[in-house]
């Protein structure tokens, strides 16, 4: 069974806040749910499936109860920041199997208000099998991605200048987004002269820390066609966890090599068919590696591919993250997958900012990498079309 054509994304909402000092995480989830349902033209009574990940306070049980949902399907799969891309796929599967007709996916959090960042070492969580062999050494989000970047540079000659181009493109897009956390256009030198956080990654190679969240509503074809919104149809999806493989680690590629292939096969399209891509940008290196692994360029050529504005809408061959991405716009609760889906939906509907809207955007991708590139991460790829 395939999910191709079996479900539509009818509602999408990105919370406008980037700093939520006076709101609880639960309230943010509720505001996102309401926003996405209003966008779709549906009400809370229509929801019969609910999806959330680790950011949902109290998990699915608390959230279903809190939101007052009456659902017949729940899914709280957590693959880090890529969870919400997985959720769209799982919602499509559930809809195709008749388990629900209106699936609500929410995510939200407030790491910025809580003073968290990617520099603090991970906490020593009990019972996790890998933690005792890692936590003494101080793994963080940034130094894990830095280790992947260092090895990629070693094997393929990728440079800091090339990584900087990913940030430059994000900043060009973010200048048109009034909600973006960072709106100033930067150049390659600005990135290279920003403080070194964990070499080779500078501060401007890192995503923002922001509060907020988002939600999407995935529905059956019958319901989608009864609504007034442009039709965004799910074409294909793939997911794939990747880890250390018992010590045979290779941090020069991501799980996108598998999730991308599965999504393209199911959708029946190739990278050259993709008019717009949301590509997870926790760090600049993440984008370079994913673009290679998804097949937008040869392995090792990602640095060249992203250079010279090739990712800037209206300038380059592959516009990505036209909202400004995690690097400039928003990386709510340090999980970027939801905003990746939302901007792809905007592009397919023709509702992106006119300055960044891709012409004739009929096929788009949202791809995420959640977790650590130099330990364990979950890749997820979603391909959608405008019909």
């Amino acid at each position: 069974m395939s999910i191709k054509g079996k479900a539509y994304i009818a509602g999408a909402f990105e919370h406008p806040t980037r700093l939520a000092e006076n709101k609880s995480t639960a309230v943010l989830h509720a505001e996102c749910a309401k926003g996405a349902l209003e966008d779709a033209g549906l009400s809370i009574e229509d929801v019969d499936g609910y999806f959330c990940a680790g950011d949902a306070p109290g998990g699915a049980l608390s959230m279903v109860d809190y939101l007052g949902l009456n659902v017949r399907h729940v899914d709280s799969t957590d693959t880090g920041g890529s969870s919400y891309i997985v959720h769209v796929s799982h919602a499509a599967q559930a809809i195709a199997a008749g388990k629900c007709d209106v699936a609500l996916i929410t995510m939200a959090g407030r790491p910025r208000a809580a003073g968290r960042n990617g520099v603090k070492p991970k906490a020593a969580s009990p019972n996790i099998p890998d933690v005792p062999f890692e936590v003494p050494f101080g793994p963080t989000a940034v130094n894990e991605y830095a280790m992947a970047a260092k090895r990629h540079m070693h094997e393929y000659g990728t440079t800091s200048e090339q990584l900087a181009w990913v940030k430059v493109a994000a900043s060009h897009h973010a200048q048109y987004n009034p909600n973006a956390r960072l709106q100033d256009v930067v150049n390659v030198d600005d990135v290279l002269h920003s403080p070194m956080i964990s070499d080779p990654l500078h501060r401007l190679d890192c995503c923002v820390v922001s509060d907020g969240g988002g939600a999407v509503v995935v529905v059956s074809p019958e319901i989608a066609k009864s609504l007034k919104r442009p039709l965004v149809r799910v074409m294909g999806a793939g997911e794939s966890p990747k880890g250390q493989m018992g010590g045979k680690d290779d941090f020069t590629y991501t799980g996108a090599v598998w999730s991308g292939r599965r999504a393209f096969d199911e959708a029946g399209v190739t990278p050259s068919d993709i008019k717009y891509a949301s590509v997870y940008d926790s760090f600049t290196i993440t984008v370079v590696m994913q673009l290679e692994d998804l097949g937008f360029c040869e392995k090792g050529e990602g640095g060249k591919f992203v250079s010279d504005g090739n990712l800037i809408s209206g300038v380059g061959k592959l516009p990505i993250n036209t909202d400004g991405g995690g690097l400039n716009n928003n990386h709510p609760t340090s999980r970027g997958g939801m905003t990746k889906v939302i901007e792809a939906v905007r592009q397919l509907r023709g509702e992106a900012h006119p300055k960044v809207q891709v012409k004739d955007c009929d096929i788009a991708m949202a791809h995420g990498t959640g977790g650590g590139l130099a330990s364990r991460h979950g890749s997820a790829t979603l391909i959608m079309e405008r019909v």
């Binding site: 101080g138 894990e144 070499d199 018992g246 010590g247």
Partner: protein
């Protein structure tokens, strides 16, 4: 920019029952890895069940304590700088570690390194010794 190793407080690892031999050996300056008698493969981090064939016939083996740097990064922000790394042991598997007792500006991918054990935790609350590496 401080590029030379300085001591820092390393978080204490939780000791699970199946890893007591590993931490006991570390306290004596020995690095153990697990090897599977069913499929012959080494693995790290150590498990009771082999991650390649699910066999329970995994046995501790003492390593030579030498390897090469697979990748590393010097964290400049935070309480004190440190160099996180993956070292590929001469026996085969790679492991997360820290590079210590050296000038971090001089280290490089492919460099030969050997184990140095550092005690985790603090003076008031000491933890197990953990395997770090320094250039040969």
């Amino acid at each position: 920019m401080a590029a030379t190793y300085q001591p820092r407080t390393m978080a204490k690892p939780e000791v699970y029952p199946e890893h007591e031999a590993y931490w006991d050996a570390a306290a004596e300056g020995k690095l153990l890895v697990k090897r599977c008698e069913a499929c012959g493969e080494y693995h790290h981090y150590p498990r009771m069940f082999c991650p390649y064939c699910m066999s329970e016939k995994t046995k501790w083996e003492e390593t030579k304590g030498t390897g090469t740097i697979y990748t590393y990064s010097v964290m400049r922000r935070g309480a004190s700088p440190y160099a996180i790394a993956y070292v590929t042991l001469d026996e085969g598997p790679s492991m997360m570690t820290n590079i210590v007792d050296c000038d971090w500006d001089e280290i490089y991918i492919g460099q030969k390194v050997k184990t140095v054990f550092k005690q985790s935790g603090s003076q008031d609350d000491p933890g197990p010794y953990v395997p770090c590496f320094t250039p040969l």
